[in-house]
Amino acid sequence: MSLLCAESPGVLDLLEGAGLELLWHPALSAATGGEVRALLAQVESGALPLDILCVEGSILRGPNGTGRFQMLSGTGRSMLDWVTSLAAKARHVVAVGTCATYGGVTSAGENPADAVGVQYEGVEMGGALSRDFRSGSGMPVINVAGCPTHPDWVTETLLLLASDQLDQAGLDGYGRPRFYADHLVHHACPKNEFYEYKASATNLSEGGCMMEHLGCVGTQAVGDCNIRTWNGEGSCTRAGYPCINCTAPEFEEPGHGFTETPKFAGIPVGLPTDMPKAWFMALASLSKAATPRRVRENAVADRLVVPPSLRKPKS
């Protein structure tokens, strides 16, 4: 439902303006029951071309590989069966949301329903569809990962596809569109100055950087969340809670609490991926020593308490 939050213009105008005709959407379309079954039959027979198949939600293989934990109502067939069948007819297949891309939260814990993504099971390729699957366009499944997805990630992916401007080179190593996946959540995070000085928040609700103590992985997580922002001017870090890497496979099982940073000998594990650890440590200790009082105090306050000092222009 995050898609409904698309703005300027709204989702209906966005799709319509790009010449995208919605054949059927479970929340938006008029057709119910028999009308939908007839439409699906037309797609399966090839009478009705299917340009883009969008799949939301993980695909359940349980119990015992039958897929019967998730039946498409009124059809007597599992979603696993339907996705396999419809994907074979589609020019493009788009998985929307981290459950559909990699299994996501629905595959957490003991994964009682045996949930997988459309073409991935966690980080491994091969989900409901095999790793070799290619849609009519020759592309693998396009993974608009995010929990939730930003509405623009979905609409812009669809618009790029509709204008033939998204090819395999436009996807990253996990099948995510690079227009948003080449950015890190860290980019444009308003806590960047705190990060520079390793001025850390010690508790949720404090202003400082959440990497050292509160589990924030914005320096490693892909997404332009802080560049384009959400629902107006929002983002996770702007609201005072950490990035949990929801665009990534297996984010649902970090191996520690979501809001705590695992440490080894007092040093956070999982430092930025493309920076040598020794350099990071050296810079961190230098910058910690150089932290201005303003940054240090604001880091542990629940609102800005020390403003920037004013400097008069040189006359």
Partner: protein, 476 residues
């Protein structure tokens, strides 16, 4: 026409997956069976995790009632810790939650419910051309206006909660972002814009005028806005006689505050308000594909029956209060809060009553939000640090848009040992119980008219959608 069976699905414009099996006799539904054909297993996933992880995982049960799940989890954890959020934090949590509920109601009316009246089956009715222009699925003018207004309203969640859905801002001790005076001013502008949408489009009049309606008959004379348009249709199609319930309603009470919730809790039974006996809540498994016995959620388990053996026909458990079904949702909430219009609709309990209950709550929620906003003190403390106990139990009872939502949590050795959830639609769309009593929606469907040429009856669609089911929460 002779007897026949119908299998209705895929059932869209409800949240999630629903399949109905209908026994039709002499042009009427004789019996209905509601199947939730999806099993998800969130309760099982939680076991062994850090209790605080519930705040991240449970909101992801649902892309539409996400904040309700956040609120229930946060309250359950606070209960386990024996604390309450700070007063200002409690207000912001309520504000976030009420925005979601309000947005959900507007989505339901415009996107899920009204488009059925623009279907060809109603061609020739006086109001049909207007219904097509205003409510054609994916196109109608009212629906477009509603989507835009809703997206703007959710800027409040963007600002205070980072994003919608799946915020982590609501915590046992309060909320993670302390709003400044400037933030509150900005939220005020969003609320005023939403009031403008409601007064220009949905009600076509000041909210206070709609709120002064005291009876269903007075409401029947409401003519302005999309609400008035609905009343015209409701009168023509006799929606006050369609899909009637059993007249038993429950609300856990909405938006907890220091001096009690803003919408009062209770049970409505035999035409009067009673306190809820929470110990009398139990989930019956006789007709769910679940193993185990009927139990209170503090003692229950979630053991799916992979064999999917009969007589079960749904993944939905059947919650009962003292052995009885209860209906939950906006109508129930407004009845138990004692609003005169809702009270006058309690016995009617029809499609019309449920939609009117929701419209009433839309108007009241706007006022609640305005009052909450003006009461927030930006200089106050918005969050306390809370230590979750190593062992303990907690309960989080809230009101989601669709009704009463409960989280029951047990912590052992610092880990979640049990996590049970009863969602609103689990109450409304439950299957039969061991006494053979159908769930609320199954009961409401009996008697619905089915045309000889219909395989997906319109009357059935109106009844089902009047409950605003959220099937993904149902089967969590």
């Amino acid at each position: 026409m002779s007897e026949r069976n119908l299998l209705v699905g895929p059932f869209n414009r409800v949240e999630g997956d629903l399949e109905l099996r209908l026994e039709v006799d002499a042009g009427q539904v004789r019996a209905a069976y509601a199947n939730s054909p999806l099993f998800r297993g969130f309760e099982r996933m939680m076991i062994g995790k850090d209790p605080r992880d519930a705040l991240t995982i449970t909101p992801r049960i649902c892309g539409i009632c996400s904040i309700s799940q956040s609120a229930a989890a946060a309250i359950a954890l606070a209960d386990a810790a024996g604390v309450r959020p700070t007063p200002e934090g409690e207000k912001v949590a309520a504000l976030l939650h009420a925005v979601e509920n309000l947005a959900d109601h507007v989505t339901h009316f415009n996107l899920f419910f009204m488009p059925d009246f623009a279907k060809p089956g109603y061609a020739g009715r006086d109001w049909f051309d207007a219904a097509v222009a205003r409510f054609t699925a994916g196109k109608g003018s009212s629906l477009r206006r509603a989507i835009d207004a809703r997206a703007q309203l959710l800027h409040i969640v963007g600002l205070l909660g980072g994003k919608w859905p799946h915020t982590l801002a609501i915590q046992p001790g309060g909320v993670t972002r302390a709003p400044s005076a400037r933030d509150l001013i900005r939220i005020g502008t969003s609320l005023r814009a939403f009031r403008r949408y409601l007064e220009e489009q949905l009600f076509g009049a000041p909210l206070e005028a709609f709120l002064s309606l005291g009876t269903g008959d007075q409401a029947a004379n409401w003519t302005t806005g999309d609400a008035g348009f609905f009343m015209t249709i409701a009168a023509d199609l006799d929606l006050q006689a369609l899909g009637r319930g059993r007249g038993r309603y429950m609300s856990f009470g909405a938006y907890p505050m220091r001096d009690g919730p803003l919408f009062a809790p209770g049970l409505w039974r035999d035409g009067a308000r009673h306190d809820i006996d929470h110990a009398a809540i139990a989930e019956d498994l006789s007709h769910a594909w679940m193993l185990g016995e009927t139990a209170h959620p503090t003692r229950a388990e979630t053991l799916p029956d992979a064999a999917m053996s009969g007589p079960a026909y749904s993944w939905c458990k059947a919650p009962r209060l003292a052995g009885e079904t209860v209906e939950v949702g906006a109508l129930a909430r407004q009845i138990l809060d004692g609003h005169p219009l809702a009270l006058s609709l309690a016995e009617e309990g029809s499609v019309r009553a449920r939609i009117l209950g929701r419209l009433l709550e839309i108007a009241r929620s706007q006022l609640v939000l305005e009052e909450l906003l003006s009461s927030i003190n930006p200089a106050g403390k918005f969050m306390d640090q809370v230590t979750i106990p190593h062992d303990g139990t907690g309960v989080g009872l809230v009101e989601a848009a669709r009704g009463s939502l409960g989280h029951w949590l047990r912590i052992e050795d610092g880990k979640i040992a049990s996590y049970q959830i009863i969602a609103p639609t689990t109450w409304n769309f439950s299957p039969r119980d061991s006494a053979g009593i159908p769930g609320p929606v199954e009961g409401s469907l009996v008697g619905a008219a089915v045309g000889d040429d219909e395989d997906t009856p319109l009357s059935v669609q109106h009844i089902v959608r009047s409950y605003d089911p959220c099937m993904v929460c149902t089967v969590h």
